[in-house]
Symmetry: C2
Subunit: 549 residues, 2 copies
């Protein structure tokens, strides 16, 4: 009964203007007079809401139609504005668009065609000011009523929903007064046409201006969850546009440097048959009729590549950690930048490459992404990232000594806590003026079984962590490549050899000595920029509480 | 009972030389005299095998000890050969190694130090010939007995297990007779020392020579499964060393070209909350207390990036398909090379970029990886990959016409079967002399709901497939960016709108028209080289029956 009723209601406004009494209309009138007996309170409420909505929709449509008709008859500007049909690749006009950032002085007085978002549209008397935005660039367009631009056109432009994508033509001119709110301060466009390519819904769940506001300023703050729930809008802020360009740079510079010195990129499987590290913190996958796991690290496969004579490998790919860690720096899925390299006699051959790779990355970011870094700092101010050349390499005993001299009580072979790491970072910064350093020669006991012991003192090992702004970004080591020694060390760690048999066997047919390490791209990006949360450097972060968008 | 017995047997050879009768020995003798009552036939067999093994081990150790002693006393070459201790980074000597491929004429008569694998070691009278191998390069080292090289040394070299990694020093000389079996045919090394860096087990589960043999030659064939079960060894063949260098090139050239024309690399999550495409062919993951899925495509995230104004994006990463397809070209996990791009008026703007990206890749492979391609063809002969510039773009009706003219019965809007695709590839090759082409304007009905209909004939669509050697490598389309049209098309496909609500909503706040596509890196590599199986172009393939290594 209800479904018939509501189905009919949906068609009701078509009948309102009809003069003929058709049977459906008659039935509708009847049902309107009689309260449907089966209608519950909530259903009635829903119905009322629906009716109101339908009525409003009909009203709006009627108004729009009337406006369109008025425009079509009176409006001398009608060809100059309006909503374009949805682009379905109907034609190739050969027109040429200019990006906002490419508008320049030498183009003044020429006609330009720009496609961008309406960041803001403000109607004041006989003028309309539109701020167009493209990435971290913006320009002002001014429309003034004259013999080409009608009042109706101005009203349409003033009413265009923020975030709509528009095509604007006009003459590029020197701005009378510098436009402080735009990146193009000295140029503006005298608009002559305004066409909507894609219209945004009039209500936005968050305002780009709010999401772009520097923390220090007054005004509404958009919290991280709201940002992520509306990620498409949040990503449009200048800071986010810049962050992910820099993110492109992080991976690109990583690969560029390594490719240039003979590294081969490999791709390692993410679905693996056995859970590494005893099955803790591993995501389980249903794999046809059996089970599998998501790889926590590409390490085994990188090492297999070394054993297969690919000697210098890197891989960039998803790494999965089922850790219930809800911190500012943990993700359940991140982008691993992983290196493994055979060396001739000393793992410092590898450590030198890793250090130089990072320095090359930092320098590349500084020079190639200066605009983007500046854009990020405008919203999230931070001290520029500092480093020295060559990279500082501290050995463990020296770090312990520095901590003790600063009053920290710590044993010779105790692992560092996160606060101790941060504090050590401060001491290192004060002493060496660097946000980047390598901590070498970790105590053997606190490292995994496959770590090569130090030849000079078996209490230490040939392993290292790398730090940025006092936070650990990479753990690495010379790996044991001798099956007998590997078994011996696994026994000390009380690991059931059968569970790591295939790992041990990997080294049976001759293996070069090798070392390596892995780093999360998001962590590098976060710490390079001094951001406070890894959810700001992961485009679509995954944590124990977030699986969307 | 058995465990005590076998545990004791393990220590037995220590007692053999002992003169004292200790209680354990006595017990052992007793148990040896009496058949243990609980011992089954198979256990007895196992035991016998174990005893034989133990005895052999003891014998070998005794012999090695004797040999070592003899060497230590009599051998004037003893400093020139032997097994080095496991490298644990004890020292930095500053010595300099030369790679086999870098040995050149102008180094003749100089001393060289080379680290490589022993591919073969052959003792003939007073000479020993060693073939050293590094990637797809090899060189012969000749040792001859003289006042520096002892008979013992020669014997040691002759007995060195294949695949061991060794450090060899010697004088580079012009080869008397060209060494046809090595890549360095005109040069060889007069060896003066031979040290084992890492010794391989004497028994190999597959011989590199067998695994490297061209299909056309006589001799044992190593099947694909045996290869994969022993992947570390299999990957050492020259063809495999070359394939994965070319694989590096495929991804590098993809990114290089796109980065050069303003694309941004993004990273999309692999763990997603809802199964796309209705949950079929999706791997399920346990995600803390709930469930999640592995992404079958980064498409939604690429499109979100477009909606977030990143306009030109690519991503390289794992893609998962839970399809029970056991074919030569399907994998359950592969490396997706994905593109998405906003355009101004016509999706051909995107298709042109995609076409040029591929042509740039093919040309880059040809010029930068000529040696590697040649190396692959030596084992797996194939016609060199052909393409024309600009890329050939065929429209659907033309393809149907070509098929019909060649006698294929097919309707105007029927989807192509795999054999029909291959046949069409042959027709295209014959007519246009290209192994690469774009098939544009697919019938709307056989494409997903989000495909933009063709503006000129709604039976077709703005979508395309791309082919290499007659096999489909990429499917792509202009995506519908208008929420209303998207709903309309979803309804035609009878898709429950609520299941795709967040997808539809992505376009609510203004979206540029855009198009894109994705390709599997392994498929590109396989088809470029004309390999017969995708398991030859995936380093660690995953299929319904294979999860290891």
């Amino acid at each position: 009964m209800i479904s018939v009723f509501t189905a009919l209601r949906r068609t009701s406004y078509f009948f309102r203007t009809s003069t003929s009494i058709n049977p459906l209309h008659k039935y509708l009138s009847m049902t309107q007079d009689t309260e449907p007996p089966a209608l519950s309170k909530s259903a009635a409420k829903k119905l009322a809401a629906k009716q109101a909505k339908e009525a409003k929709k009909a009203e709006t449509q009627a108004r729009l139609k009337a406006e369109a008709e008025a425009r079509d008859t009176d409006d001398y500007s009608k060809e100059r504005y309006g909503k374009l049909p949805t682009c379905n690749s109907r034609e190739k006009t050969g027109r040429s668009w200019t990006e906002i950032e490419d508008l320049s002085k030498d183009m003044v007085e020429s006609e330009v065609l720009v496609r961008a978002r309406v960041h803001l549209s403000r109607l004041t008397g006989k003028q309309c000011f539109v701020k167009l935005r493209h990435r971290y660039y913006s320009v002002q367009v001014v429309y003034a009523v004259d013999d080409k631009i009608s009042k109706q056109m101005l009203k349409y432009i003033g009413g265009c929903p923020k975030e709509s994508i528009v095509d604007v033509t006009g003459t590029l001119v020197t701005a009378g007064i510098p436009v402080e709110s735009c990146s193009q301060k000295l140029l503006e466009i005298q608009g002559s046409s305004f066409h909507v390519v894609s219209e945004a819904a009039p209500q936005l769940p968050l305002q780009i201006d709010d999401a772009s506001r520097p923390l220090a300023d007054d005004g509404p703050v958009v919290n991280q969850d709201t940002r992520l729930n509306n990620r498409i809008l949040d990503l449009r802020t200048p800071a986010n546009q810049a962050i992910y360009r820099i993110g492109h740079g992080v991976a690109a510079l990583f690969r560029e440097y390594l490719s240039g010195i003979g590294f081969t990129e490999i791709h390692t499987p993410k679905i693996i048959s056995a859970a590494s590290e005893g099955g803790a913190n591993v995501f389980k996958v249903s794999y046809f009729k059996g089970n599998a796991y998501l790889a926590q690290s590409p390490q085994l496969y990188k090492q297999m590549a070394i054993c297969a004579d690919i000697e210098r490998v890197f891989t960039v790919g998803a790494v999965f950690r089922a850790e219930d860690s809800n911190t500012h720096r943990h993700l359940c899925e991140f982008v691993g930048l992983d290196i493994e390299m055979a060396f001739k006699e000393h793992y410092h051959e590898v450590l030198t490459v890793i250090g130089e790779m990072f320095l090359n990355m930092f320098k590349g970011l500084q020079t190639k992404y200066a605009t983007e870094i500046e854009t990020v700092y405008k919203q999230y101010p931070a001290e520029p990232f500092k480093f020295i050349e060559p990279a500082l390499r501290l050995e463990w005993p020296e770090a312990i000594r520095m901590l003790r001299e600063a009053g920290v009580e710590i044993g010779d072979f105790d692992d560092l806590s996160t606060p101790q790491e941060k504090f050590l970072g401060k001491l290192v910064k004060a002493k060496y003026d660097t946000d980047f350093y390598i901590l070498d020669k970790f105590p053997l006991e606190i490292r995994p079984f496959y770590t090569m012991p130090c030849p000079h003192d078996p209490k230490y090992s040939n392993s290292y962590d790398i730090f940025m702004r006092g936070e650990e970004i990479m753990s690495g080591a010379q790996r044991i490549h001798d099956p007998a020694l590997l078994e011996e060390r696994a026994k000390v760690h009380e690991i059931d050899l059968e569970t790591i048999r295939s790992y041990i066997d990997s080294f049976k047919f001759g293996s070069s000595p090798h070392a390596g390490g892995g780093v999360g791209a998001e962590r590098v990006l976060m710490l390079y920029l001094g951001l406070d949360n890894i959810r700001k450097s992961s485009m679509f972060p995954r944590d124990p509480k977030r699986l969307t968008p």
